[in-house]
């Protein structure tokens, strides 16, 4: 493991050398009408680098690039191994650990041993990620309760920590994992940087962790996966989900929602995200619908993440606790409230273990 200490200027310099080597994707603050949103986008020229915005959790995640909202299933393009836009590795910069855990979950689904999705594979194979954290716990975040570390993830060979209170000094730490090497030009640049003290970083991260623990009181007592039968039948799903409008915004901002649909544009087959919160998601052509009511769709969304997915994928939850669905919900329907209702029913029924 190598640890570097950087100031703002050093970081811009590092991003400039990374930009020369990679297709760089990073979060930016953009104005859309009256909204200020933080979104990932490609960097087209190095003059954009100083505008990269890391402080807040971005609204979007690398999902938008790996399983795009809609994509043309270009069968011929897949056969051409060297597509010009795929030749350079994509570097996602500033990714939170919860969003990295979401990519890992996608890999489980789309690169699994039964069927491999070649479109996913082609978008996934040349990517690297540099993780990011600071001392602000993103709003509504409950990733720790799902076993996801705040400050590290195996998909990121390097992680950047920003001490916002030490701004103006060398307030960044860059941790590069043992055995990982960047291309030569980047390594040369890293050589020039100061070495960080691991003890100092460890102390900083443990302060942050303690602060986060105070701020996030949410607790899931039952073990995952939630018992399918009991959670499905014995929980009151209507009461905690009654305010849901069925707009689906939770699933569109969710970094782990991967359900999709095909649609045709003349002879071209396309894929687009779909949402279990919509009634047509399961409606048969005959009109029969196994999930006619909105609370049944909520049950599906919640149990897919906390029962079905962990049952199918080695116990791993289908949610990473990023909190976006809570922040984005137009009626403030908090998934933690619904999880709690299920959790309490399971504990009361003795099915929590």
């Amino acid at each position: 493991m190598r640890l570097k200490k950087l100031n703002s200027k050093d970081l811009i310099g590092l991003l400039e050398v990374l930009f020369a080597e990679y297709n760089l994707i990073a979060p930016f603050k953009v104005e859309q009408g009256r909204l200020n949103r933080v979104l990932y986008r490609f960097i087209r020229q190095d003059t954009e680098i100083p505008a990269i915005y890391l402080k807040e959790l971005p609204e979007t995640t690398p999902k938008n690039f790996i399983l795009p909202r809609d994509e043309r299933l270009d069968f011929n393009g897949l056969e051409q191994a060297d597509r010009s836009d795929e030749t350079r590795t994509r570097l996602f910069f500033g990714v939170r650990s919860c969003d990295l855990a979401a990519i890992e979950l996608f890999d489980d689904v789309f690169l699994d041993e039964d069927y491999l999705d070649p479109f996913y594979e082609s978008r996934r194979k040349s990517n690297i990620f540099i993780g990011y954290s600071n001392q602000i716990l993103p709003p509504n975040n409950f990733q720790k309760e799902l076993g996801i570390d705040y400050f590290d993830h195996q998909l990121a060979p390097a992680f950047l920590y920003e001490d916002l209170e030490a701004r103006g000094r060398d307030h960044y730490y860059l941790k590069i994992k043992a055995g990982f090497e960047f291309p030569g030009a980047v390594e040369n640049y890293l050589e020039e940087l100061k070495t960080g003290e691991n003890d100092q970083l460890e102390a900083l991260l443990s302060d942050w962790e303690a602060k986060f623990a105070q701020e996030s009181e949410f607790e899931i007592k039952s073990k995952l996966p939630f018992s399918e039968k009991i959670a499905f039948n014995q929980v009151d799903w209507q009461e905690p989900t009654a305010s849901c409008l069925g707009c689906g915004v939770c699933t569109y901002y969710c970094p782990t929602c991967f359900c999709f649909d095909f649609f045709w544009d003349r002879s071209t087959k396309n894929r687009a995200w779909d949402s279990c919160m919509f009634s047509v998601f399961t409606e048969h052509a005959s009109g029969h619908n196994p999930r006619e009511e909105q609370h049944q769709r909520w049950r599906q969304r919640l149990l897919h993440k906390f029962s079905y997915h962990p049952q199918n994928y080695g116990g791993k939850p289908g949610c990473v606790g990023c909190g976006r669905c809570i922040y984005k919900c137009p009626v403030n329907l908090d998934i933690r409230k619904v999880i709690k209702a299920v959790d309490n029913s399971l504990i009361e029924g003795g099915a929590g273990q």
Partner: protein
């Protein structure tokens, strides 16, 4: 690891059979893969994804026995966008096919048993793959008596009139037909299938397997009646349908609990359904 790129192979419609009158409009399509390897290997009970180019894709149960490998048979009721477009096509038109997908009827495991097939309407289509397999000359001796109870709305809605004489004449095979309401010139049963099982089928509680397919409400009521008669859940086999996009357990639409109808089904025993949430 199997790669599947969701790309359909090209198939040609080689025959279209109008099965029913205008009120339900079911057609049977015989298809053949074009290209160098026109062989489509499948097991009874599996399904395929059929693309009508420019319109969409939908799952259809294979309706023929795999012993007949030179054509692919599906029966399609005009219901939604894809089926309506498919009904407009004519012999020689091309469609897209992918598959086969899903598990299959446990016909191998059920050798030496009596076989009972209970169908409602187009639910007979997927059962036809198992019926023809069991009644196939090479396999017939491996199974005991075959009984069928086929339910249709009206005589006009009956399927496979070209198969029925062959099935009726098969060794040790009995077929009962029923329609919803009495009508003239009908000398078979009348009424819903669950009300007729007790009188029309000789239900053994040992050594017999019950294959049931039809609309969800029919499946549920028939299963209830079989259980009343003492049939064990493991001896009742059904095949389910769900809206689905991929057929590979990824698109997230066809799950019942943690199991996917496309991948873990479409064939389930009632014993398995008992362990799954009631959401189909």
């Amino acid at each position: 690891m199997k790669r599947d790129d969701y790309i359909p192979a090209e198939a040609e419609i080689i025959e279209i059979i109008q099965e029913t009158g205008s009120n339900l409009n079911i057609k049977t399509f015989h298809l053949k893969l074009t290209g160098d390897k026109p062989i489509f290997d499948f097991k009874p009970g599996q399904f395929l994804m059929l693309t009508v180019h420019g319109v969409g894709e939908a799952p259809f149960g294979l309706a023929s026995s795999p012993s007949n490998r030179d054509k692919i048979v599906i029966s399609v009721k005009e219901t939604g966008r894809v089926t309506a477009a498919l009904h407009e096509l004519t012999v020689g038109d091309k469609v897209g096919l992918r598959g086969p997908y899903g598990n299959s009827f446990p016909v191998e495991e059920h050798k030496s048993n009596e076989m009972i097939f209970i169908s409602g309407g187009i639910g007979l289509a997927p059962l036809r793959s198992a019926i023809d397999y069991v009644l196939d000359q090479d396999n017939r001796k491996d199974y005991g008596r075959v009984q069928m109870l086929q339910a249709f709305r009206s005589p006009e809605d009956m399927l496979y009139d070209y198969d029925q004489p062959r099935w009726e004449d098969a060794d040790n095979t009995e077929i009962k037909y029923t329609i919803d309401k009495p009508c003239e010139d009908w000398d078979h049963c009348v009424g819903f299938p669950h009300n007729l099982i007790k009188d029309e089928i000789e239900c053994l509680t040992e050594g017999a397997k019950y294959y049931v397919c039809g609309p969800p409400i029919m499946i549920k009521s028939v299963i209830n009646e079989l259980l009343e008669l003492g049939i064990k859940p493991k001896d009742i086999i059904t095949t389910l349908e769900m809206r689905m996009s991929c057929g590979l357990g990824k698109c997230g639409k066809c799950n019942i609990g943690h199991r996917y109808v496309c991948k873990d089904g479409p064939v389930f025993s009632y014993q398995e359904l008992l362990d799954m949430p009631d959401e189909f």
